[in-house]
Amino acid sequence: MRAFYGCEVTYPFVPQDVLDSVDSVRASLPNKYCDPKIAADLYHETLDEYLVADDVGLNVMATEHHAGINSLIGSNATFVGIIARQTRKARILSLGTLISLRKDPVRIAEEYAMIDVVSRGRLEIGLVKSGGSEMASNNGNPMQNEDRMWEGIDLISKALTHREGPFSWEGKHFTHRHVNIWPGPYQQPMPRLWAATGDPRSTAECGRRGIINTLVLRGPEGTRKAWESYKQARREAGLPPATRDMFAYAAMVYVGDTDEEGMRIGSKILWFLNTSLKTAPQMSRFLPGTAPPDAAPQIYRNKPRPAEIGSTVATKSASQNAAALMSITAEQAVAQGILFAGNPDTVYRQIINFQRAAGDFGHLNIIGRSGFLTHKEAVRGIKMFAREVLPRLEESKVHGGLE
């Protein structure tokens, strides 16, 4: 198993009374609450964490979000470009560009080709369809969002692999009359693609395309369902069976000397859920295209009708999932496979148990720092994971997840 360390460069220093008084800590919180001098420190600390990860044998990943306390990485290519030069051995996962929100996929291909060349072939490209408050921040129409993602991926893939001079693209969502990027990527034919998505339709499409599918904080049951859809789509398309390297899981991870220390520090990462998920209803549950119209009775009514109370509606919206995550405790997060925290034995066992329940996977995406977890604690967690847990994961062979 490969492991990727990531930090979203959260900004937890906004006064709590401000956070309590606004309807959204994303997209609409004025940037006067973000001190650029503190932001500079956070960027530097995170880049240093990536260097530590590189030294101890972990790979690194960076994730893009916009305009909120949940992340200061508004331009992932910028951040990943720095990592590409500063690290030496680590694979670099950009997870990723919010592709359905970008106007010109060819520019994304140029950015990633450059980064791959600078890193001498260590880049992996994650593409995300996005949603929620990101649509407002990026002026992205939430309708046809997924269609734009797939067409964008097609265009980026062709731009990265085409070697014989300009080609033209006149697609449904994107047009470009003259595509000819210089340089092409270092890796041939192109860097490996990832997608962070969990709904059955898009995971099936990932399966048909062989894109690495990572599930973020989805828990064993949701993860297993998504990967089943991936595997089934490959079977139905007559493709070779899925292999473990096509699957990844992203969880909050912290390894301490003792269970107490691992949980005490690791639970700080939950700030990301408890505090930074707060999003205005119009940017979440009421955002067009977020849930199918059939879910409207659950979404629009303030007073549920008797028949709805306790019902397990299949159309539970992403925002309802978010609401559940916001109030999660550390113990619940561990039980749900969202947080792996404790001493090395405990964390190893949690990951293996998760793998048994969800299915085998080849990559672990570590959300290793968030909120008030300090740089010093993050560095210690990285070293502990690399020394005490990763070697055992690399040796372990878990069966039962694949055909």
Partner: protein
């Protein structure tokens, strides 16, 4: 006629549409706004006393299907021309409410042969103010409760109550909102080119506005009417963005009066020179 119709469905340009219809006499094509028109809306029965109205649910709205690549205002405007062609008779009065007013104005610019009169009710579709001043409330970027409050003079009485709406009504509400978003997210509910072309509208035009409209103001309405050569502007008091819902009798009186008036009188009362 290029389409066929019955009381519930109407086939137009190869599309199968849900349609409300009633009354007899002059033919009126009624285009809905953000939401499809409720069959229980009191103004419909009033309107039926004066004309034969057809109120289709546009593709993607109500139970009207939206074809795969039918997803722009361009499509809806051409579809409006198809609708005008499909209606019986050789004259059609086009009434557009809110979002439907935008489509009606776009269609009228193209001067369809059968178009006789144009009535725009709190229409959207143009930009008046400077680039940093929004004319139209960003209905997708505020809480739905804000949209409800700003849409009505008396929201307590007239705004939709999500808690009391039936499941099917809420599903339609959400589907309409999705489709509206698809068609009009960016630029939000206007066409930057339309304002300059409104001068091509050649039929007598009535622009009606609810005086308490919080979605888009009566000032915008005045500016809108000024761009249309044969337009007159009328305010309806005690109404917001939906005078047809809040003041149904007054609304129908204005509409029927305008439809039945001789063109010469209309021109006399019109404010704008061509």
């Amino acid at each position: 006629m290029t389409g066929t119709m019955n009381s519930q469905r109407m086939a137009v340009g190869g599309l199968d549409l849900e349609v409300l219809r009633g009354g007899s006499g002059k033919v009126v094509l009624l285009l809905h706004g953000f939401q499809t028109i409720s069959p229980k809306a009191p103004f419909l029965s009033e309107l039926a006393k004066h004309c034969s109205y057809f109120a289709p649910s546009l593709p993607g709205f109500g139970s009207s299907k939206r074809p795969q690549d039918f997803d722009t205002i361009y499509d809806l405007v051409r579809h409006t021309l198809d609708l005008i062609d499909a209606l019986p008779g050789d004259k059609v009065t086009l009434v557009g409410l809110s979002f439907g007013g935008w489509l009606a104005a776009e269609a009228a610019v193209l001067r369809p042969a059968k178009l006789d009169r144009l009535i725009l009710v709190d229409p959207l579709g143009i930009r008046i103010s400077d680039r940093e001043t929004r004319d139209i409330l960003d209905i997708f970027n505020v809480h739905p409760d804000v949209v409800r409050d700003k849409s009505f003079h008396n929201p307590r009485r007239f705004a939709p109550d999500f808690d009391s709406m039936e499941d099917a009504e809420l599903v339609t509400f959400a589907r309409n909102r999705d489709s509206l978003c698809l068609y009009s997210w960016n630029p939000l509910l206007y066409n930057p080119q339309l304002r300059g072309w409104l001068r091509r509208i050649s039929v007598p035009t009535l622009v009606l506005w609810g005086s308490s409209d919080g979605i888009v103001s009566p000032d915008y309405g005045h500016a809108y009417a000024k761009q249309i050569p044969k337009a007159r502007f009328g305010l309806i008091e005690y109404a917001g963005h939906h005078p047809e819902i809040e003041q149904p009798a007054e609304f129908v009186t204005r509409v029927a009066g305008f439809m039945s008036g001789p063109e010469g009188n209309l021109l006399l009362t019109g404010e704008q020179a061509p």
